[in-house]
């Protein structure tokens, strides 16, 4: 993963809390994704301004106990969210 890339949420996606997890609805595909809290957090942070590196740094600051694991988790989440069409790379 290139940490300089910036990710942005796909148009119209809706996120809703469901107990501890989240549901993400993508109107482009009419699909509903059941996201774990970590993936939901990553999706929320994909605001079209932060680079992947900034996103990792921010999460590491919020969760210092898991700092080592965060880069791999973020990379996996970004790949999954991009594959599902709910985020895209900003040009």
């Amino acid at each position: 993963m290139n940490n300089d890339k910036i990710y942005i949420q796909a148009d119209g996606c809706l996120l809703e809390q469901m107990d501890e997890d989240c549901l993400l609805f993508n109107p482009q595909t009419a699909a509903t994704l059941h996201l774990n809290p970590a993936s939901a957090l990553v999706w929320r942070l994909c605001d079209g301004k932060r680079t992947a590196a900034q996103l990792i740094a921010e999460l590491a600051e919020q969760f210092p106990g898991q700092a080592e694991q965060i880069p791999a988790d973020v990379a996996a989440a970004l790949e999954q969210l991009q594959r599902l069409g709910v985020i895209k790379q900003k040009d």
Binding site: A10, D11, G12, C13, L14, E16, M18, L23, F25, N26, P27, Q28, A30, A31, T32, H34
Partner: protein, 370 residues
């Protein structure tokens, strides 16, 4: 899965009383095929209402079903927001051109009778404009970025009561607009053009948006005629039945029931026919009158649209049956025959004549347009 009409009907309530809640809870707890149920629920535009009932009943359903249902709920909420934004733009543009428009069906009913607009899913935004300004309305839609096909998808649909569906993407959702010059389709008796309703329009408030809609009696007339008309699917959506009953309940004291009885008595008959599926309150029953004791056979089953009946894969025998023998329930509604009265004359004379009329209308339309 064969989801019973009774189960769908029990979900078709704006609010559940204790008895209805207990009955619905019992039925939902026995569901094993949730995907099958949800498919039927969505086809009947009931997903947001079911989600709301499940929340109120505190019912635990399988996680996969809950995710699907919540997804549908979110989709309808998102679609309602997109429609709102599209209507803001459209309403402002029409006002600027002094082009009057009247909101029909779901667009008007959702803010008036549903606790939240997102509880009333709809496929299209339906608007009525003066016939003389139909083309101008279409041009305005195009200027607003809508894709408006030049003609109807089928030549048998030419000269219908509306422009082809115009579509536009708004925030990832497809917003579809139908501009009508007649609030009633050609398959039901009577006409309801803009000129006939303009003097009685009412204002409906949808958040910041003020829309004009039909007066009470015209509204009930339109909603009930639409219900009994031919539908593109194989059934009437349950939400359309709820529209009629909930509207009558909501405005029971404002509706001129004498006028309904005099000019639009089919409304009373339709409400009687709906009672076995979406029960009328005792107060509404007394306004509507008639016999509410018996159940009409074939409830919820409608006459299929011509193009579905005429599909090559439908056998000749079945075609005849579908054409000439629709359900009692639909016959009572469409031909305005009170539930207790015989359908014999209607089946033998009126219905075959109506079929002939529909056939000529379509042939004429195809010859003229195609």
């Amino acid at each position: 899965m064969d989801v019973s009409i009774n189960l769908l009907a029990q979900i078709t309530r704006l609010r559940l009383n204790d008895e209805e809640g207990a009955r619905l809870l019992e039925q939902l707890e026995a569901i094993t095929d949730w995907p099958g149920l949800l498919e039927q629920i969505e086809l009947n535009a009931l997903a947001p209402l079911l989600a709301e009932h499940i929340r109120e009943l505190n019912l635990a359903i399988p996680l996969e079903a809950l995710v699907s249902l919540k997804g549908l709920q979110m989709r309808h909420r998102g679609a309602a927001d997109a429609r709102y934004r599209a209507m803001q733009e459209l309403s402002a543009a029409f006002a600027e051109h002094e082009l009057p428009l009247v909101a029909l069906k779901g667009l008007a009913l959702a803010p008036m009778i549903y606790p939240s607009v997102a509880l009333r899913p709809m496929r299209d935004i339906d608007l009525l404009v003066p016939r003389s300004r139909l083309a101008e309305a279409g041009e305005l839609l195009v200027q607003l970025g809508f894709d408006l096909p030049e003609s109807q998808p089928s030549r048998f649909m030419r000269s219908t009561h509306q422009l082809p569906n115009a579509e536009k993407q708004v925030d990832g959702f497809t917003v579809s607009v139908e501009i009508h010059h007649d609030a009633l389709g050609r398959d039901v008796p009577g006409h309801l053009p803009y000129e006939a309703v303009a003097d009685e329009v009412r204002t409906v408030q949808w958040q910041e948006l003020e829309l004009q809609t039909l007066g009470h009696e015209h509204q009930l007339h339109q909603v009930c005629r639409h219900l009994a008309g031919l539908h593109p699917g194989d059934f009437i959506k349950m939400i359309n039945m709820l529209d009629a009953v909930a509207y009558a309940e909501r405005f029971i004291d404002e509706i001129d029931w004498e006028r309904i009885d005099r000019d639009y008595d089919h409304v009373l008959n339709t409400l009687q026919c709906l009672h076995s599926l979406v029960p009328l309150s005792p107060a509404l029953q007394s306004k509507v009158g008639g016999d509410f004791a018996g159940e009409i056979s074939g409830q919820g089953e409608i006459m299929l649209a011509f193009r579905r009946i005429m599909k090559p894969q439908v056998s000749f025998g079945k075609k005849l049956r579908l054409l000439f023998n629709p359900s009692d329930w639909w016959m009572h509604m469409y031909y305005n025959v009170a539930p207790g009265n015989s359908l014999l004359f209607t089946r033998l004379v009126r219905h075959p004549l109506t079929l002939l009329k529909w056939l000529f209308q379509r042939a004429f339309s195809a010859i003229r347009g195609g």
